[in-house]
Amino acid sequence: MSMATEVLNNPLELRISDRLAKNFRRHFKERVIEFILMMAALSAVATTVGIVAILLYESAGFFAHVSIVDFLTDTQWTPLFEDAHYGILPLVMGTLVTSGIALMVAVPLGTIAAIYLSEFASHRVREICKPILELLVGVPTVVFGYFALLFVTPMLQKIFPELPGFNMLGPGIVMGIMIIPYISSMAEDAMRAVPMSMREGSYAMGATRFQTAVRVVAPAATSGIIAAYILGISRAVGETMVVAIAAGQQPTMTINPMEGAATITAYIVQVAMGDLPHGSIGYQSIFAAGLVLAFMTLFFNLLGHLARKKYREAY
């Protein structure tokens, strides 16, 4: 007896096997889709792992020549000089000072902008303001660099005549302006996600708009606002062009924003654009510097993560 007749004799079985086939097809399709999605997600993970691996590998070469203690305690960074010193501190300092200035500008202004856009601006004003603010994100950082060097610094020199042409203050401020939209748009999203019922509760108690925004909405959005700040910090710490152009690329152990200095990123781009041979210690030094940058970013992200956990939304 052939299969066909058997199936024909048993219509129920036909339906079952039919369904099974369909099931199998659907199942297969889902597996394929799942696989594609997983690969997409993995590509990001793999890139990160790859970067860290390369950083570690090349840094290992560096640390074979330079002791970690020197690297972390020496106050000079002159890897390309005859008398080479490999102290990362000046670069870390430059990074922290410029980022600190940037945040002092971007955090208050970004937060205020977010509060305004989310709680005060009418629909129309918001529709006009947001795209303009977000336009800032699209401006190439080179432009910001020259803006700092050729416009902001000369203006600051009118106030502080002794300010040198290369300094950390100008680029720090410009970097701050640059990251305002990152902070404001993310903080605004966080505040707009606060349910209307929370605002109504505040208004119903006789609160004004300002009281509602500052005492209820912003606290309710704390975790999202912190995330916005963390993004701002990451942007500032990782920013390269502005500082490379306007801060002078001269590693200096100072916390005085009126002096020029180099940041980790500025050093990396400076060396990477030069023509040091692969495998030379100068070449390897950029990976050690990159590793420090990665650690710094990781540290700030961790801090942000902890802060967010503490202020987790629970409405």
């Binding site: 009418s122 349910p195 019922s197 929370m198 605002r199 109504e200 509760g201 505040s202 208004y203 119903a204 108690m205 006789g206 609160a207 004004t208 009281q211 005492r215 209820v216 606290p219 309710a220 704390t222 939304e313 629970a314 409405y315």
Partner: protein
């Protein structure tokens, strides 16, 4: 009506309301709210109960394009609180509200209750402590929270959160309290405690409550208003309304034949 009735605290006079799109959600409502009594608003979903309630604290002012017509007159001062010249914040200082879903602020239990006082510029710590305690006692939650006043309010259970919101609304000594389905998100036990609480509260404050629950209206309220499609169909003593309503629609709704 009977001469034994208590004074009227507020009354809606020919009140109509239009939502932004022009939808007429209330149609010429006349309703007295008796002082230190509980007035229940009942009616099928979408008939305008919340809309009506939210006129009393000018909540509709928060959204653009909404429009009131007619008056809500508050006594004894005889002010029409819907007048443009009257600041909605002034109105909300006198009339507080408890919402359907408990909506505590992301603050400590203490700060939640103190919120209205702070907004009113109260700074004296001693006075504040006293008023917060009094409000929490008034909302029958003091014993449960007195040892954790500085914990964040979200840790409380739903029923506790709702009583906290009642304490919050109570702390500022309002003349009228509005309740919009205050127990619909709660279990029967929490509901019973809130109902009991409302019955106690009416000794000192006038209450207007929206409810979907006929038994609740019958249990707690002194007066009942039945609304349908934006109109007030019938208003009267709760006992009368539930035993011999004068309108057929009311009877159908109350007995569950419709709605």
């Amino acid at each position: 009506m009977q001469p034994t009735e208590t004074p009227i605290k507020a009354e809606a006079r020919n009140l109509s309301f239009y939502y932004n799109g022009g939808h007429k959600a209330l149609k010429g409502i006349n309703l007295p709210v008796h002082e230190k009594k509980i007035t229940a608003l009942i009616g099928p979903s979408g008939c305008g109960k919340s809309t009506f309630l939210r006129c009393f604290n000018r909540m509709h002012d928060l959204y653009p394009g909404n429009q009131y017509e007619g008056e809500i007159v508050m006594h004894p001062d005889n002010t029409n609180i819907l007048q443009k010249a009257v600041d909605p914040i002034e109105v909300r200082m006198r009339i507080s509200m408890v919402f359907q879903k408990p909506n505590p602020f992301p603050k400590s239990i203490y700060e939640n209750v103190a919120y209205g006082l702070r907004v009113r510029g109260e700074t004296n710590k001693r006075d504040m402590d006293n008023k917060v305690e009094e409000a929490l006692r008034g909302a029958a939650i003091w014993n449960e929270v007195k040892d954790r006043l500085h914990e964040v309010a979200f840790n409380l259970s739903g029923g506790q959160q709702q009583r906290l919101c009642i304490a919050r609304a109570l702390a500022t000594d309002p003349e009228i309290m509005l309740f919009d389905e205050p127990t619909s998100a709660l279990d029967p036990i929490a509901t019973a405690s809130i109902e009991e609480l409302m019955s106690e509260l009416k000794n000192k404050v006038t209450i207007l409550v929206v409810t979907h629950n006929m038994q609740q209206a019958a249990r707690v309220s002194d007066y009942t208003a039945y609304m349908y499609l934006g109109e007030l169909i019938e208003f009267g003593n709760t006992d009368t309304m539930f035993t011999k309503p004068s309108r057929r629609e009311t009877e159908d709704y109350i007995t569950g034949k419709f709605g």
